[in-house]
């Protein structure tokens, strides 16, 4: 399903044996523009702790209950190495976490997000190994969007495909409020992310922007097909067994 990140902030995180906390932030790999981790806020207000959860641990997302289900136990999460999420995450910290949970490393050949584009990405990550490559969603979502030196607007949200957690598009809020305020820019238009200037560089010409469709959160972009069964009274029913003869 294609969905925006901002809305997922605050979802409850439900482990196999109960709730463990809330979604506080996300970490995005800016070399591939993929979502890598969920930052979970756990514990009570007395002992608040932030832990990183790999998307490999993610089970079902239940939008109607605003809940993420994860394939972990509460104990596993509470025993995790603490992470200071205000700082960029280093590869060493990731290794410690992977050892704790037994997660596959996504930067190794048997990792869970290996794709065709991976060898190239691996070369890149090797070069920047030990470097900071994960960005906080909350951090980026206040950045300005620029094309060259021209400011177009600011980052408002990101659209991800939860099948592989790759970035589909970037939702930009325009500065001018005569034109439609929100516009989606395809992920391919992103050229650079500048940490120090707090800007996101895109390859879009300002005059092209009015041609883009305004972005609407309530657009029905996801389609799911299913077969539902009903009984003689129009009530939802169990699917009939294959061997059962239909009398009606």
């Amino acid at each position: 399903m294609i969905r925006t990140l901002e809305n997922i902030l605050g979802y409850r995180i439900v482990a196999r044996d109960g709730e463990i906390g809330k979604v506080q932030d996300f970490f995005i790999d800016d070399s591939l523009w993929r979502l890598r981790y969920i930052v979970a806020e756990t514990g009570s207000w007395m002992s608040r702790q932030r832990v990183l959860l790999s998307l490999a641990a993610l089970g079902e997302i239940r939008s109607e209950r605003r809940a993420f289900h994860v394939n972990l136990s509460r104990e596993q999460v509470s025993g995790a190495p603490g992470i200071d999420t205000d700082k960029p995450v280093s590869r060493q910290q990731e290794l410690m976490m992977n050892n704790h949970y037994g997660w596959p490393a996504y930067w190794s050949p048997d990792g869970f997000t290996i794709s065709e584009s991976m060898p190239a990405a691996m070369n890149r990550t090797k070069k920047i190994d030990g470097d900071h490559h994960l960005r906080s969603f909350r951090e980026i979502s206040s950045y300005a969007i620029k094309c060259g030196e021209v400011r177009l607007g600011k980052v408002e949200d990101f659209v991800f495909d939860d099948a592989d957690w790759s970035l589909r598009s970037l939702v930009m809020r325009r500065d001018s409020w005569l034109e439609s305020r929100r516009i989606a820019l395809p992920a391919g238009t992103i050229t650079e992310l500048s940490w120090s200037d707090r800007t996101l560089g895109v390859d879009v010409v300002d005059s092209d922007l009015p041609n883009n469709e305004p972005f609407n959160y309530n657009e029905p972009v996801n389609r799911e097909e299913c077969v539902m069964y009903f009984d003689y009274y129009g009530r939802p029913a169990e699917p009939p067994l294959a061997h059962e003869h239909n009398p009606a």
Binding site: I2, N222, D231, Y233, E244, A248
Partner: protein
């Protein structure tokens, strides 16, 4: 969708601009076993009257709200004299009344036009010229007994396909009292309906055609597409097609 007619009794009828009333009864023809009209009760208990709606006006059935959605306006129903009748009197009820009081039947049909020749108390008949000889009330039939082929049952319900209005089977109660079992019998096994004796005459092999009736069986398969927005919220659901479950 294949459904129980008994269950539809009491559904609210939603016109395009508001509520119309409740489903009171159905009229069907027993020659080709088709549902023809919905009998709808409108107004309060003091000013209650009945209206017939042809099946084509049905737009959809919302079971979760027990609602029948129709493609007509409230005004069309309340104002239209054509489909309005103060009191529907089904022919079989009239037979009973006539027998009880020793009346001479008035519903002699003109053999050529099929029109009714007398004009007393025939509000419904006037609405349905030529067709009324086959029109039967569902509520009436569900109080009948069913006999033949060694069976002695009573009619509980009827099963129809709401896409075509075709009536598929009767639900019969076999045995009496709390120990009865509900069974399905295809309409093809009914020889005829005997309106004077309030009886279904069953064909010879009817007993063999009986099937147990399982009210919670998932007999309807509905392919649906659900659409979600960027926030994961359900935007709308659309029915792709309805078919009978295999």
């Amino acid at each position: 969708m294949i459904r129980s007619m008994e269950n539809l009794i009491g559904y609210r009828i939603a016109a395009t601009n508001g509520d119309l009333g409740t489903v009171e009864d159905f009229y069907f023809t027993d020659d080709i076993w088709r549902l023809r009209y919905i009998v709808l009760a409108v107004g309060g208990w003091l000013s209650r009257r009945y209206v017939l709606l042809a099946l084509d006006v049905i737009d959809g059935i919302a079971d979760e709200k027990r609602q029948l959605v129709v493609k007509i306006t409230q005004e069309a129903v309340f104002a239209s004299p054509d489909i309005d009748s103060d009191k529907p009197v089904s022919r079989q009820k009239e037979i009973l009344l006539a027998e009880h009081f020793g009346w001479k039947p008035y519903w002699i049909l003109d053999p050529i036009s099929g029109m009714i020749l007398t004009s007393e108390r025939i509000e419904i008949d006037a609405v349905l010229p030529g067709m009324n000889s086959n029109l039967r009330s569902f509520r009436e039939v569900t109080s009948y007994a069913a006999k033949g082929s060694g069976l002695d049952c009573s009619v509980l319900d009827m099963i129809t396909d709401d896409a075509s209005g075709q009536i598929l089977s009767f639900v019969l109660a076999r045995g009496r009292g709390p120990h009865h079992s509900a069974e399905l019998l295809p309409v093809s096994e009914v020889e005829r309906i005997d309106w004077t004796n309030r009886l279904l005459h069953l064909k010879h092999g009817a007993a063999k055609a009986l099937q147990p009736f399982d009210p919670v069986a998932g007999i309807n398969a509905r392919r649906t597409a659900r659409f979600f927005d960027y926030l994961g919220n359900l935007h709308h659901t659309s029915v792709l097609d309805d078919e009978r479950a295999k």
